[in-house]
Amino acid sequence: MKKCTKCGATPVIIHRKASGQILCKECFIESITDKVLKGIRRNKLIEKGDKVAVALSGGKDSVMVLDILNSLYERNIIDLFAITIDEGIEGYREHGVEIAVKNANKLGLDHRIASIKDYFGKTLDEIMTDDCREHGACTYCGVFRRWIINKIAREEGATKIATGHNLDDETQAILMNYLEGNIDNLTRIGAKSEPKSDKFTVKIKPLREIPEKEVALYAIARELDVHFDECPYSRESFRGEVGRFIKELSVNHPTIMFSTLKGFDKIKPAIKKEFSGKKVKIGMCINCGEPASHELCRACLFSKKINNEE
């Protein structure tokens, strides 16, 4: 029987092909917690006294972020609360919201729940049944979700918004934007956002260097209450195709995602310097007052269209 390469114990739960490490449950949890906390310090994601809002979906990634940041909250280093968005996806989202509530309650944290329908008049399902819609589900969902989270974060005085993006998500975004030639988007990928307006709260990605499979393993090893359901709209996107491609490559090349991320982080300053030439002036949306680069912010523009107000 294989033994833990760190402490010698059995049974073991993971063989990290990239490093050769084999770990028991305790050493795995310790190693991954350590890695996340070190990443937070190295990238200066959190400072003492921050009030952090976790965008909590109830999936493994955001529940893991909440679990790890809670250790900083318990040591009085930060203040912490959760925001959950109900997108309105029947047969999928109810379960996630329920689990998000359980997790926030278990840790005794404040929790704000808001729905896309409350703010924009329609559920995501209702938006998607309209044949005249101009975008895919992920576009509407992303724009509305970001708008609501940003607004609530500001209302609650949050200084950071933490999201559950993992290593797979991040390499997917790098590759996808590169393949599409979307250099402007590439310059915005990173562990910590650099908002163009002080009405946008800084966003941080504490799990950015953790492979998705290890996030799942952590959630199960820690016996966290999470759901592993698949969003019914996720298959539609190009992002998904790129994701499948990198995961397939990783089977025979276990370090490929990590090297993609590290390489990108190295060239990013050069890309930024070269391509941040056109400065978009950020003003205020005439409808909602949120930051916008045109008269209307994207959320208000979409909202008008889906509610036939133009």
């Binding site: 294989k2 049974p11 073991v12 739960i13 993971i14 063989h15 084999i22 449950k25 493994k60 797979d168 998705e212 499979k213 799942a216 393993l217 959630a219 199960i220 090893a221 592993f228 698949e230 969003c231 996720s234 298959r235 998904g240 994701g243 499948r244 995961k247 990783s250 089977v251």
Partner: protein, 66 residues
Amino acid sequence: MTITVIYGNEKQTVEIQGNMTIKEVMDTMDISSQTVVVKKNNEIVMEEEIAEDGDIIEVIRVIYGG
């Protein structure tokens, strides 16, 4: 040799020949071991672990689009 595999809402009995790893069992069932976490008799196991007679293998799908 017989093992029981629980995958989602399905529970099935699988006949296996000789020593097979969890990964090989997954391969024969067309399940990508990249996208699942496997418990053997209620304990998380690595994919190179050998399946033994009477084992109850619980396969938890954790990644979609993989």
